[in-house]
């Protein structure tokens, strides 16, 4: 079928490629001309603006938006302005599902369908296909299902779940109609929340492996830092990249995130090209807020999110308050700020012979 695509970043462009390869016709637009030209060379129809895009699609139209969440609202409005009743707008970006609920209501009043499609797959989606979480009306879902089928991974690469028989259901092909407007991005949001938690579990575990030599590296200790209790049990120099590779085979934690970690560690075992300031991009936050709203315990997902904030220094004032309290009640002097990080991220501590620190 025909699809308009607005936003030709890596994901938008790759979705277009996947669609064209399967015989769909794509009319494409972007704020930059370069990505349009590139796809036109590969067989797409270029559009100079939204009106041009609308004119090159036959009604009823379907237009997929693949733009940053921050501007999705504006683009939806502008695209809607050139469409007519019966057309479908699909937001395939990382919008907050709450915005979907509101946008769908507004567009429905004009007779335009709004579909939200949470899209997972990252840079590998062109080859692996994208996992699609879809929200919106049944009728619109059915109309765009041929496109979804093509973008999704399909039946190829995953063992069938025991107990599932007969024809494959949509979820077994990698796309699912999750519910009314917002449901797609809601499910995608929770997906990313889980992703944060799984990533943190792996990162914390590898960090413990990295600390398995604590009994070797441990220096003279200040009274301010608890000494290592059993140095004889922390005498291991673990080959962390090898362990990551190992766990990919037959272990309970084998996963795509582990595959990626193994790849990263294979190319740079110390990861010393990175500063360890971990970004976050919305869904992890929204997941924790949804947990709070609905009274659902989510300590792991929240801890994973907060670790990222702390990695960017946002715990700094809290830490100063803690040191200030210790100084007050026990006369515990903090080490001066000039004592900098040693290699490996561990900090040097001075020896202190004072006998009085106690709380």
């Amino acid at each position: 079928m025909q699809l308009g695509m607005v936003g030709l970043g890596r994901m938008g462009a790759n979705i277009v490629r996947r669609l064209m390869k399967d015989g769909h016709e794509c009319v494409v637009n972007d704020v930059n001309q370069g990505p349009i030209d590139a796809l036109v060379k590969e067989g797409a129809i270029g559009a100079t603006d939204y009106a041009d895009l609308a004119s090159k699609l036959e009604a009823p139209r379907a237009v997929w938006l693949m733009v940053p969440a921050g501007i999705a609202g504006d683009v939806v409005e502008q695209v809607a302005a050139v469409l007519e009743a019966g057309d479908i707008i699909i937001d395939g970006g990382n919008s907050n599902y709450r915005d979907d609920v509101r946008r769908a209501k507004t567009l429905n009043e004009k007779g335009i369908h709004f579909m939200d499609v949470g899209t997972s797959g990252g840079v590998f989606g062109l080859e692996r296909g994208y996992c699609l979480m879809v929200g919106g009306h049944d009728e619109a879902f059915q109309r765009i299902e041929p496109i979804l089928k093509t973008i999704a991974p399909g039946a190829t690469d995953v063992d069938r779940t025991p107990g599932r028989e007969g024809d494959r259901t949509p979820e077994e092909l990698g796309y699912l109609h999750c519910g009314p407007s917002g449901a797609g991005h809601f499910v995608k949001m929770v997906h990313n929340g889980i992703e944060y938690g799984m990533m943190a579990a792996l990162a914390e575990g590898f960090n413990i492996l990295d600390h398995a030599d604590a009994g070797i590296t441990e220096a003279a200790h200040s009274a301010e830092i608890a000494p290592l209790e059993f140095p004889e049990y922390y005498q291991f120099n673990i080959d962390v990249p090898a362990v990551a590779e190992l766990w990919r085979r037959g272990s309970v934690i084998s996963s795509w995130l582990l595959d990626l970690t193994a790849a990263a560690l294979a190319s740079n075992p110390e990861l010393d090209h990175l500063a360890g300031r971990v970004s976050d991009s919305g869904e992890g936050r929204w997941t924790v807020k949804a947990a709070v709203d609905t009274g659902t315990p989510a300590p792991v997902l929240a801890a994973a999110l907060f670790e990222r904030f702390a990695s960017r220094g946002e715990d700094h004032f809290a830490n100063k308050v803690l040191s200030a309290m210790r100084l007050q009640f026990g006369g515990h002097e903090e080490l001066p700020a000039g004592d900098v990080l040693e290699a490996g991220g561990r900090k040097a501590e001075h020896h202190d012979t004072g006998q009085s620190q106690q709380s």
Copy 2:
């Protein structure tokens, strides 16, 4: 080569099967006769006791123990008593790596090698192979390497990590010599710690999906429970089993644990055969303690562990203390204990019109 196997539970027996299939000769023993007989029918050599087992193996021997961690110490001693210098004892169970450090030292004094092999793979290992994390001397490692190669998954089922070229390293075949005695179980311990964290991330996420209908089910609320702020955003009846299936395809969180979750939900969507009292079996605890010992932050792994404790009611006294404080400072009456769980695990709350609760 030849291997003695002590402990023919599911994992021990399946390891023997995997070895025999690849041409190794196995002498087997168990506290029960049944499992011995079963494996003898499949080609193993039965041994009536440890002495018999030792006599049926040619020196230098290798004996693999696959027994519960709680009795591993005794079995190691008893088996060591019938072995001689140059022989190898392999603990393939879930022992604490600290015990390995001590046991290796004792056995080394007698000239017996001790190897610790953390073994992951669960009930699927017979087919998939087992992921093997090995600790002990180089020499002993090299001697048992043919056995490890057979038990491990080998080269078959996993894409090669980008950047890895040439001959496959052991970790690419599913086994790794992690370091001196204890290193194998240390790495296995951290593996299970990560496993707890990943499982918790998935469980919390699915629980949020299960609560996505909070705006529909929300009843009149007590002043004691914060009302749902935006019921219009929690109107989704998510098909949780379908989502689990969907995420197996192309998503960032695709993983073996997700595969298993999808399988469990496919066979029982409500999981109503389960009480939700989650057990734990040692490694998760040891991982958190290792994090604490080495000063490594592990909030996600710890939260995952503590959720399990709480699922078994171990938070009960703490919760009573909290309710007692609320009653003291705000006159906040707890609902009587007789108010029981509604279907789905959520609890009914009465309406309270009091205007005075404030803290």
Copy 3:
């Protein structure tokens, strides 16, 4: 000065009493006649409705609302309808500070001042005074300052902070102008977030004391539950109520919340009148959401909140998912739901001799 009071629950009524005792004149209203009559007997002027209340106050008026957060919006509107430009509405309840920001804007357009006053003190406020966190315009703040001074604790009962000299500042008298509209309830919200965290710290600690006998009570263990590693170190029967009392004297954690805990434990050492289903009432949730919004790490405050959710059974589906995964990968059977809580909240577990559980 003169003050109108709407809402005569415990806190509203006690604030009126505190004001009248200090010579202020109060015009009072409530949805019920009883509380009005009671205060009229003590010297207040009763008002039959908001219009009557407005007519009995001289312009420019000041009306304090002490009503549940859920109806505060409606009451603000209704009261504003009978007031005129120059009057002040004070919301002393537990409203979300975001509502204040919006309400202040609306009321300002009519020339009515809106003040938000976070009020802490619970059932002891009549005697101890209330801690007041105030948001709104400077001018309105100055006009109601005489009232705030009376309601606040004043200079009496707390040692002066070292370094503070000269005349006491407002915060040293127990009230503070925290900033523009919303700032008062924002600070109150964070206060309650901290309260949740401090309460949880105490509750978890007392629970550990309660478990100090684990080495005595520990029964035969299932392979499903990690056995207690060092029973010889958990042989204590701690007198928890006595410890709570002890810590009130000279310890670092002495606090009003500890005082309350000691009082609760003194009257019922086992707290067996409580079910341990801990409520929460808004501010704890809003605090975590504010932390998430602003990128501030708050793992302790979030964990404290989530423990409360779990105490009410909201972790149930997550726990079933965890048990389901364990059953899948390791054949780990959960104990049947019929196995009920033993006294003290700990659950009985059956003995299992299986050798095969491993992950």
Copy 4:
């Protein structure tokens, strides 16, 4: 009565002063001569070494050790060597309660009593008295009770708990016999675990207040950092030192730790003399390990401990692993390490217009 004191750091010396003021006779020793001379001037009897100390005390003797936990074991042995059956050694330092269990057993074999006394009070103890948590035999407890009574705060400064009547119990005077050897330090350990949690609750809360201006300071955002959703709700410049002072009066979270925070903020509102590298000194770690051992959920206490580890950079490798994964699956580039902290601990982020980051 007579007491020997070994270790004249601030706490040891102040305990001696408190004892002498109340008429007890103290024989004192330290590794340095200065503290001995100072106390001799105030009326104490100096001892040149342990043998001299023993000779200057009448049997049965009582010797209090106030030395760092790291050397307590050696000092106990050396002092025991000069004592005789019937004498009492008191460890008033911060030893691990497990060491007490072992030391008591060894000393009991020689007929020497061993008492463990957890001592809280910090630098204020001389004036306020020390909170004493005591473990050991009944008989020895009764013999040293006169000393404990003097060191403890006594009956003076705390309101009596409602419901407690008649003669004051020991816990109402600030000391408690908690149980057999180890019980005193066990209770002290949990006290400090709670202290960590309460401190973290306060620190996180003040940090949220410090971030209340996020809507003002928020600059152009990278696609890598979630933008602030509602900047209009984060427009507050909270006077954090004033709020700390305010909450000391009538609020639910009034506490000694809050008093100390207010004092610290009064003397340095930005706390810019501190680097925020928060130390920990054993008990917090032991508390979490005791929680893990006994299966007691303690997510708040553990999170508080882990925040301290992270404040010292021990999360660094974990954070690099997280950034590495993000780079792998989404092409998310981390900002270069050269982007340093802005004032206030928040880090500058560059603007990125890429449309493709999605997971």
